[in-house]
């Protein structure tokens, strides 16, 4: 009798569940919304999906900054379509997050009260048209490297959202690179704008992968649970290697005097990343942190009466055909 109690003690049961959960992860099974999962796993996946969704939505602001000023009809159409894609990604990701029991309204509330984050890259301003090229090519390019890896993340709804998102993001990257290419083939003012955008976006794009592995708080557990499949440094290096050739091909200079190809490793070695700047921006002191958040809060508040009207109307169930 006493030994049975011992075997079924809460600690043992929990350990068995954790072991079974880890065994499923190790077998590369996807975890689905109704499956048992450790609380910490749920929190981590939810945090990551929420951050990703908010990033897509906040990212609409710096790009939207150039819709009205897009220089030709084709560019304007492409930019409008691209920003719509980003908003659409926000929608899938909010829905994926909802599978873990937290609705969009609650996620937005956490964004507004500062508990939830979004990618710091969007706290940099878009100052000239080439910045739209740089966002597509470098920022979406960096995001894709991470997201391709996330197509194999262990949480099913997130992995599936990522498959679709990756298809669209690779189009965005080509769109960005096309803008840079056109400007580098253009007049001297256009070339100057393209290089200026490169100089301002290169380092922040590298920072998007997060701190070096040795300094990354969440990496180890996330890797074990296969929420994250590859480390920050591995992903960052992959992005560097593929992007440098693209930059050189169109005549852009990488703003890094220490940049050097390493014959032994067959990778490009870069100079030191300015982590002080990274933490400053993460901590809310980038050029646009305040602006982005105020904008989102203002739009949400301005829309309050619209949402109330829609709800009130739905309640009244007046049908219109």
């Amino acid at each position: 009798m006493s030994s049975t109690i011992e075997q079924n003690s809460p600690t043992t049961v929990m350990q068995e569940r954790l072991d079974q959960f880890q065994a499923r992860i190790d077998a590369d099974e996807k975890i689905e919304p109704k499956d048992w999962m450790p609380e910490e796993y749920r929190k981590t996946v939810l945090r990551q999906m929420s951050q990703h969704a908010h990033s897509e939505v906040i990212g609409m602001q710096p790009e939207g900054n150039w819709i009205l000023r897009a220089p030709c009809l084709r560019a304007k159409k492409i930019l409008l379509a691209k920003i719509q894609d980003e908003g659409g990604h926000g929608l899938y990701l909010y829905s994926a997050a909802e599978t873990l029991g937290t609705g969009r309204e609650a996620l937005i509330e956490s964004l507004h009260n500062g508990k939830a984050k979004y990618s710091s890259i969007f706290n940099y301003p878009t100052l000239n048209w080439a910045d739209i090229g740089a966002i597509g090519w470098l920022v979406d390019g960096a995001a894709i490297v991470n997201q391709v890896s996330l197509q194999r993340t262990s949480y099913g709804p997130y992995a599936r959202a990522m498959v679709r998102i990756c298809k669209e993001e690779s189009f965005h990257q080509r769109q960005g690179y096309e803008i840079m290419t056109t400007m580098m083939r253009g007049n001297s003012a256009q070339k100057e704008m393209a290089q200026d955008a490169m100089n301002r976006w290169w380092w922040p794009a590298l920072m998007m992968f997060g701190p070096h592995d040795k300094d990354s708080a969440h990496t180890q557990q996330s890797m074990q649970w296969r929420i994250k499949r590859e480390s920050n440094d591995v992903l960052r290096q992959r992005f560097i290697d593929k992007t440098i050739d693209q930059a050189h091909l169109i005549g852009l200079t990488i703003p890094d005097e220490q940049l050097k190809y390493n014959e032994d490793t067959k990778h490009w070695d870069i100079g030191p990343i300015n982590w002080d700047e990274f933490w400053q921006v993460v901590g809310g002191h980038g050029l646009c942190n305040e602006q982005r958040m105020k904008h989102h809060i203002r739009a949400h508040q301005d829309g309050q009466w619209v949402r109330e009207a829609a709800n009130a109307f739905a309640q009244k169930q007046i049908s219109f055909n």
């Binding site: 939505v57 609409m60 602001q61 939207g64 819709i67 009205l68 000023r69 897009a70 220089p71 030709c72 009809l73 560019a75 304007k76 159409k77 409008l80 379509a81 920003i83 719509q84 908003g87 659409g88 926000g90 929608l91 909010y94 048209w129 056109t182 083939r185 253009g186 007049n187 003012a189 256009q190 904008h295 989102h296 739009a299 301005d302 829309g303 309050q304 009466w305 619209v306 949402r307 109330e308 009207a309 829609a310 009130a312 109307f313 009244k316 007046i318 219109f320």
Partner: protein
């Protein structure tokens, strides 16, 4: 006026209506009341932008002089745009934008439906294509007007205010120009479109429980390129890069 020249002017006017509406709707990007509406409005902007480009290209095919659709969209001055005054009015709140879009897309829906039967096969093909899009814009915006009319006190009052604000710009859409007169038989008579439009809008307003202003005062001039002050500011943003870097390729 020769038919060719009249067709050119007519197509440019259609293009201008769509271009200026697109530019206004695009202002909603990242400002929508919910993400779905943000996407819906930028999608409508994208539709209008595509329509504008098609009408400009058609106009240029009638009078080929080396200019492109971009030149027409970006390199004219304020007194050379022939869009209706309604299109250039500021977005205001969401009720104002929805009312504006409903009044505007109801007009285009009837116009394109008639134009799709035009003896000018190019115009009829372009109108048929655009018709599918503007039908949806009308459905979307009129459904919101009904929600506002029967939603809350606040939404009803905002929608009513929007109608009062915008009503004076509506007759301008149906002005008859020299081009309309020359193209009689090829394009619909504006007066007949206006009468159909009146019945569509009367029906919509009664479904919403909203009313027209009692004062019938109307301002006109868009099709004569006599605009409100808003257009100049729209063009400042629209044309900035083309004006700042003349001749640059984008």
């Amino acid at each position: 006026m020769e038919t060719q020249q009249a067709l050119y002017q007519y197509a440019v006017r259609l293009g201008d209506n769509s271009l200026i509406m697109a530019q206004r709707l695009a202002e909603w990007c990242s400002n929508g009341p919910i993400l779905e509406e943000d996407l819906a409005l930028t999608n409508a902007a994208l539709d209008y932008l595509g329509e504008a480009e098609n009408y400009y290209n058609y106009a240029l095919s009638l009078e080929p002089d080396g200019r492109t659709a971009d030149d027409l969209a970006y390199l004219r001055n304020e007194r050379q745009y022939y869009n209706c005054l309604l299109a250039e009015q500021p977005n205001g709140d969401y009720a104002q934008t929805m009312v504006k879009l409903a009044l505007f897309s109801a007009y285009l829906k009837l116009l394109y439906d008639a134009l799709s039967q035009s003896t000018d096969t190019n115009l009829s093909a372009l109108a048929s294509k655009s018709l599918k899009e503007v039908k949806y814009h009308f459905r979307h915006s009129s459904e919101w007007m009904i929600r506002f009319g029967h939603g809350t006190e606040e939404s009803k009052s905002r929608a009513q205010q929007a109608i009062y604000e915008l009503w004076r710009f509506t007759s301008d859409m149906f002005e008859t120009t020299a081009a309309d007169a020359t193209l009689k038989g090829i394009v619909p008579d504006p007066a007949s479109i206006q009468s159909e439009w009146n019945s569509v809008i009367n029906d919509l307003l009664s479904r919403c429980g909203l009313k027209k202003p009692e004062d019938p005062y109307q301002v006109k001039g868009g099709y004569q390129a006599k605009h409100t002050e808003h257009l100049g500011h729209i063009l400042c943003e629209l044309q900035f890069l083309q004006r700042a870097y003349p001749g640059a390729k984008w």
